[in-house]
C-alpha cells in the first residue's frame, strides 16, 4: 500500500527536487529488443545495411540486396524497415524502395512475405526477415502474387519472365510500366 503519511510530507519536497533533474530519455522495450537483434546481425554476403538517421536510430534502417544468383543477379534492391515500439509484438513494416518486376512485390513496394504478416512470431528477428527477402530473389513465387502479371508470366513462360526481369533491371518498359535501372 501507499504510505499516506509519507505522501503528505513528500509533496512539496518532490516538486522542489524534480525541478533540478535532467529530462529523462527512455528506451522502449521494443528498442531494446531491436538493439539486440541489430548487434547480432549476421548478414548474408548479398546484403548490406545502413542507418540513414545515424547510429542512435535503429528503428528506421535500409538494407540493400544484390542477389548473387537467379533471375535478379546483378540488380540492387533497397528495402526500408520501420520498426514500431511494439516490436517484436508487431513485425517491422518493410517496403521495397526499388521499383521491381517481381511476382511477390507490387509496384508500390509492398512485399508479400509470410513472416512479415500472417506468420510473424515474436521469436523471429531482423535476421530472419533479411533471409526471407533474399529468398524472394532466389525463388520468386507465382503462387502468392502481388504483381499479378509478373506471376502469370513466371508461371506460363519462365524464359519470357527472365527477359522481362532483365529489361526492367536495365531500365526499361515491361508492358506499360517503366522500371528505372537498378544494375
Amino acid at each position: 500500500m501507499i504510505n499516506l503519511f509519507k505522501i503528505k510530507g513528500q509533496k512539496r519536497e518532490d516538486a522542489a527536487n524534480a525541478a533540478g533533474r535532467a529530462p529523462i530519455k527512455k528506451q522502449s522495450a521494443g528498442e531494446l529488443r531491436l538493439h539486440k537483434d541489430i548487434s547480432e546481425l549476421n548478414l548474408p554476403k548479398t546484403t548490406t545495411i545502413s542507418f540513414p538517421n545515424g547510429k542512435d536510430d535503429l528503428m528506421n534502417f535500409e538494407i540493400s540486396i544484390r542477389p548473387d544468383e537467379g533471375y535478379y543477379l546483378g540488380g540492387t534492391f533497397i528495402f526500408t524497415f520501420q520498426v514500431s515500439p511494439s516490436y517484436p509484438h508487431e513485425p517491422p513494416k518493410v517496403k521495397c524502395k526499388t521499383k521491381v518486376y517481381h511476382p511477390n512485390i507490387d509496384l508500390e513496394g509492398n512485399v508479400c512475405l509470410n513472416i512479415l504478416r500472417e506468420d510473424w512470431k515474436p521469436v523471429l528477428n531482423i535476421n530472419t526477415i533479411i533471409y526471407g527477402l533474399n529468398l524472394l530473389f532466389s525463388q520468386p513465387n507465382d503462387e502468392d502474387p502481388l504483381n499479378h502479371d509478373a506471376a502469370a508470366v513466371l508461371r506460363d513462360n519462365p524464359r519470357m519472365f527472365e527477359a522481362n526481369v532483365r529489361r526492367a533491371m536495365a531500365g526499361g518498359y515491361v508492358g506499360q510500366i517503366y522500371f528505372p535501372r537498378c544494375i
Binding site: 528498442e31 508500390e108 510473424w120
Partner: protein, 448 residues
C-alpha cells in the same frame, strides 16, 4: 434530498476504510477520516477517457478519490454514445478528457478532475511521476507498453535488489474486448509488469497481402486491401491517418467498390473503422465490470484496506459469467522492471575496460556485448557500419559517456555463458560510480 444522497454515498466506502479485517495489507490503519485523507493527498491519473475511462472516472470519484487527472487525445464520435455515458450528442467533436472531467465534476461534488487533451507521449516523464497511482483504461498494446515503461523508469532498487518503496509507481490496468475483459495490478518490482508477460496479448492476426490483392473472400479483406494497398497506389507517399475521418471515408468507399467487384457483402463504415483500427465491438457491461474491479484495486492499493488482487483477473461473459484470477510470475530478467545487475565503477573506467569487465563478471560472463544508454548506442559489435561509428567511444570514460551522473541504467546485448552453453541475451545494468555524491531524491535510502 441532495444532502441525504451525499451522506449515503460514502456509507459503504467508509465501512471498508474504517473497520479492521483479516485480509488487510500490513500497515492498514482503519479510520473514519481515511477516505478524506485519501481524497486530500492521493493523486490518481486515469489514462484513457473512452468506454473504460468513463466508467473509471465515475467509479474512482465515487470511491473517495478527489484529485484525478485524465489524459486522452481522442474526440467524441457519435458511435461512442451508446456506452461512453458521460457524453451527449452535442459533445460530438469535443475532447473526451475535457467533457468527461466536466460531467463527473458536475455530479460528484468535491472532486477535481484535470483533463489533458493530448497524446500520452506529449507529456514529459515527470508529469507521470506526480501521481501516486496510475489507472489505465486503454485499448492498445503500444500505449500500455509506453505507460508501463514510464512507470517502471521511476523504480529503483537497493543494494540487495529489493525495490525502494518510495520509487514504486503502482498501476491498475483494465482492458475489454467485447464480452471479455481483464483487470490487473502492477506493482513494479513486485508483480509482473506489462512487458514481463506481454505474450498474454497474442499478435493481431494479419491477412497475407497476396490474399488481399488476389483472392479476397471477406469484407475485412476488401477493407484491408483499400487500406494497405490501394491507399499507397493512389496517395503516393502520403501516410494514412486512421484518426482522419476523410481518410477513413476514402478507405470505406474503396472497400465498397472492391466488395462489389468480388460479390462480397458486409462492408460498412463502422466495420471499416473496426478493421483498420483493430476494434472489437465494445460492450457497456464489460466496461462497467472491469472498471469496478480496477477502481476497487486502486482503493485497496492506496488504503491497504484489503490485500490487492494477485495479480491478473480475467472476466468472460460470452456464456454465463466466468471470472478467474491468475497469479502471474514476474520475469526477474525483465529489461523494463527487473533489478538488473548492480555494477560499481571507478570514474576512470573507459568503455573498453567496461566491456572487458562484463566478460569477467561472474553473474554476467557476457562476451561481445553491445552497450546502449537511454537511446544512445555507446558501442555496437555489429554490423560493421555501426561498429565503426561507435568505435571512438571505446577510449572514453563511462562516467563521461553517461553524462557525469552518480548512477544510471545501461542495457547490454551479447552472448552469455551458462554451464558451457552460449546464449544470446540482453541485460539491464545499474551502474554506480564510486565516490560520486548523489544529490537526487532516489538515493534516500537512509531508512526513514
Amino acid at each position: 434530498m441532495a444532502d441525504l444522497a451525499t451522506k449515503g454515498r460514502w456509507r459503504d466506502v467508509d465501512k471498508l476504510l474504517s473497520r479492521p479485517g483479516n485480509i488487510i495489507s500490513s500497515g492498514f490503519e482503519p479510520s473514519s477520516t481515511l477516505r478524506e485523507e485519501i481524497g486530500e493527498y492521493v493523486r490518481v491519473l486515469v489514462v484513457g477517457a473512452g468506454g473504460l475511462g468513463c466508467e473509471l472516472l465515475k467509479d474512482l470519484a465515487l470511491s473517495g478519490f478527489k484529485n484525478i487527472d485524465v489524459i486522452d487525445m481522442d474526440t467524441i464520435e457519435v458511435s461512442n454514445l451508446n456506452r461512453q455515458f458521460l457524453f451527449r450528442l452535442q459533445d460530438v467533436g469535443k475532447s473526451k478528457a475535457e467533457v468527461a472531467a466536466k460531467r463527473v465534476m458536475e455530479r460528484v461534488s468535491g472532486v477535481n478532475i484535470v483533463p489533458h487533451f493530448c497524446r500520452i507521449e506529449e507529456k514529459d516523464i515527470e508529469f507521470y511521476n506526480d501521481f501516486n497511482i496510475i489507472v489505465l483504461g486503454l485499448d492498445s498494446i503500444e500505449a500500455r507498453s509506453y505507460i508501463n515503461s514510464v512507470a517502471c523508469s521511476f523504480l529503483e532498487y537497493d543494494r540487495d535488489d529489493n525495490p525502494l518503496a518510495e520509487t514504486v509507481k503502482p498501476m491498475v490496468d483494465g482492458g475489454t474486448e467485447g464480452f471479455k475483459g481483464h483487470a490487473r495490478v502492477i506493482l513494479p518490482g513486485t508483480t509482473p509488469c506489462f512487458e514481463c508477460n506481454i505474450w498474454l496479448f497474442p499478435p493481431q492476426v494479419k491477412f497475407p497481402l497476396c490474399t488481399l490483392a488476389e483472392t479476397p473472400r471477406t469484407a475485412a479483406h476488401c477493407i484491408e486491401y483499400a487500406h494497405l494497398i490501394k491507399w499507397d497506389e493512389v496517395h503516393s507517399g502520403k501516410p494514412f491517418d486512421a484518426d482522419d475521418p476523410e481518410h477513413m471515408q476514402w478507405v470505406y468507399s474503396e472497400a465498397l467498390k472492391r466488395a462489389e467487384l468480388f460479390g462480397i457483402t458486409g462492408v460498412t463504415y463502422s466495420l471499416t473503422q473496426g478493421v483498420v483500427k483493430n476494434i472489437i465491438p465494445a460492450i457497456a457491461s464489460t466496461n462497467a465490470i472491469v472498471s469496478a474491479a480496477c477502481a476497487l484495486e486502486a482503493l485497496k492499493i492506496v488504503s491497504g484496506c484489503s490485500k490487492t488482487l494477485s495479480n491478473y483477473l480475467t472476466y468472460n461473459g460470452v456464456e454465463g459469467t466466468h471470472i478467474k484470477v491468475t497469479d502471474f510470475v514476474k520475469d526477474n530478467d525483465c529489461l523494463v522492471c527487473g533489478p538488473g545487475t548492480l555494477i560499481e565503477l571507478d570514474t576512470s573506467v573507459t568503455l573498453s575496460q567496461f566491456i572487458e569487465l562484463l566478460g569477467k563478471h561472474p553473474g554476467l560472463q557476457l562476451s561481445k556485448p553491445s552497450v546502449t544508454h537511454r537511446g544512445n548506442n555507446l558501442y555496437m559489435q555489429s554490423p560493421p557500419i555501426l561498429e565503426e561509428m561507435t568505435r571512438p567511444n571505446l577510449a572514453l570514460r563511462m562516467f563521461d559517456l553517461l553524462g557525469e551522473v552518480p548512477k544510471d541504467t545501461v542495457h547490454v546485448s551479447g552472448a552469455s555463458e551458462k554451464n558451457g552453453k552460449k546464449t544470446s541475451c540482453s541485460r539491464k545494468l545499474r551502474i554506480v560510480f564510486k565516490g560520486v555524491a548523489d544529490m537526487t531524491v532516489g538515493m534516500d535510502t537512509t531508512g526513514n
